[in-house]
Amino acid sequence: MDFLLNISPICTAFLTVVIPLLAFLYQAIVGKKDQSGLVGTLAIIFSFVLSLLTFLDVWNAMPLSSEITWFKIGNTTFTVGILLNNLSSLMLLLVSTIAVPVHIYSKSYMHGDAGIHRYWMYLSLFCFAMLGLVIMNNLLLMYVFWELVGFASYLLIGFWYTKDAAVQANKKAFLVNRIGDLGFLIGIAIVYSQFGTLNLVTLFGNDGLIANTSVENGLWISPHNSMDAIWLTVTGISFFLGAMAKSAQFPLHVWLPDAMEGPTSVSSLIHAATMVAAGVFLMSTLFPLFNDTVLLIIAIIGTTTATIAAYFALAQYDIKKILAFSTISQLGYMMVGIGIGTWDAAMFHLLTHAFFKCLLFLCAGAVIHEMAHLKAHSKQDFDPQDLRNMGGLRHYMPQTFILMTIASLALAGFPLTSGYLSKDSIIISAFEWASAKGPMFQIVPITLIIVSIMTAFYIGRLLFKAFFSELRIKSLLGSSVDLNESPKLMLWPMYFLGICCVFPLFSFNPISYHDAWVMDGLLVQYPYETNHTAHLVIPMILTVGALSVWVLAWRWYAQGQYPLHANSLANRISLNQGYLNIFNEKIIVNSVLNLSKLSYWIDRHIVDGFIHIFINFIQQIALLSHWLDKNIVDGLVNTFGKIALLLGNFARSTQNGKLQTYLYSVFLLVIVGLVYLLLR
């Protein structure tokens, strides 16, 4: 044990990242022979242990970093290295902690799938990419892992690649993420030209380059270079664009609901800790780089995202789509957290959200698993993910029901749950921020409060529709309803996550987020005053609001007293996700398609036309020279040949062995001789 404790955190962090990579390579080499996924699961458990060791060493200690030279271009040396501070070690621990239950759960959930060996391979790659992303000390390397995360998610979303919808979804995810990656890349380029380095320690460390940078007289001045102040804003927006695509911010959120085509266990991983967390993590890492304009844009986009996604979640029927929109909405909260300068609150919400969202997805997965099982057994045709087919499930799956309720309470932000702490931290900070800024800015906290109540409503709707009243497809099934509790291998990880959804893990004081260890560790100095009244009033508003909408949802969905018209305009807009996909299809996709058709036409007719004319010209020249060669050059040679042939034939014809021919020749010679004599 001493041996283990003496290993440097750098080493353990390195191993944390490398072990899933080894598992990925092993699975890639072994292929179909290993379907158990044991190696991948063990690897992630080792990673978890090592990340825990790293975390314990690094948390609230001096930041550590280590690097080696990667390559040199001119005088610039690029390094590859690891940066361990509170933020990265926390993320490292979070990613591996979430990945462990998902791996264990997958063993049961994905059991018997034909492509399961690929599943384990991709899952290990995904974990490797995300773990690598959080500890890299260099923006360029972060970008590499950022791309790897995107690629692995592409593979996992399209895991059931024979399904057309899955293929479309992973294509969409990949393309939308490309837009964000472009922003990230532009940001890196600007940072490099301004600071001459991409090393995070040099940039953001105490007394680093960013700390010595100032904006004076419309110039953005760093020790290395200076440029127009507008570029500071452009940099911030570029990086934010990257985070918008990865963390599904409006209007680049469109890929996330479609990404539900992947296996549910993958969705839980994507939504909890790996993919979407990357954007928030990037924003927190780069926080000192953002000026007020960028922060305001982030806050506005975050608020918009939270509102719109919560609205879209209200009328969805697909159980996974509701959760997807709730993720987008919660990511909006985190972005608001960044935008108002409290990135510690954003990280805290990311942390708590990871656990309860992962649990929500695993519970939904269990429900879908059982519904699909029921569908296969009863040989009836119904959608196992559709809420309209469920109902009364608490009688059949009591443990799943309890766990789902805990997670839903956490998402809705009820007291004593982790969600209460983190969501309040963002809303209260937003209120304090708005008080300091001015009355117009009050829109942000007020919207967030409304969104929080909407969140409580839609998750209540999901819970009551799925688990209360009677099973709606009972008439289809006849007498026997073959619905059971999930297997133990699926329940244990869910129990673990359920424990992580309540307050003691994060703060011993269940009502004040200021005591949470995460907030203490990250410790951001707020530029505005603490408002004690807000600390009392806002949680009360939230709790009362959430409780009342749960009662409403209970009356509407559990007791069946639904007062609204199901096909009303508001419901339709929400169900169709604001027609955003259709808008994108019509405006963006069609214009791109038309542009490509136009370029095809230009290429085909103008560029190719020129080439064709040229080709014809060359062909004619070739034909002419062919004719010349054939008739003039060859003709001359052939004529000589023919003359020689004729002469030869003539000479030959005299030598035919006939006496009289010889006599002819003699006679001819005599005649020639006579003529010669006569003419002489």
């Binding site: 030598q655 035919n656 062995g657 006939k658 006496l659 009289q660 010889y662 006599l663 002819y664 006679f667």
Partner: protein, 101 residues
């Protein structure tokens, strides 16, 4: 008045007929006949030019010798033709091509 020229013209005609026979006939006997005609044309010339030698009559005497020699030659020629016929079963000169390599 019959002059020397008339003799020479007749002699040339006969020579030409003989030459034609030698070159064109497809029968060895006829070729031999052609040869005789050519010899006789020459003999006619001897006789015709004999008017310039009225002392020794060299022309006439030479003609007599030539006639005798021609008779002998015809005898030899016929003998050869007979042998050729025995050997090749034909007297058509076109079908006898042993001269060819």
């Amino acid at each position: 008045m019959i002059t020397l020229t008339h003799f020479l013209v007749v002699s040339a005609f006969i020579f030409c007929i003989g030459l034609y026979a030698v070159l064109a006939k497809k029968n060895a006997i006829m070729i031999l006949v052609g040869i005789e005609l050519m010899i006789n044309a020459a003999i006619l010339n001897f006789v015709a030019f004999g008017k310039y030698d009225k002392i020794n009559y060299g022309g006439q005497i030479f003609a007599l010798f030539a006639i005798v020699l021609a008779a002998a030659a015809v005898a030899v020629g016929l003998a050869i033709i007979l042998n050729v016929y025995r050997y090749y079963k034909t007297v058509n000169p076109d079908q006898i091509r042993e001269l060819k390599d």
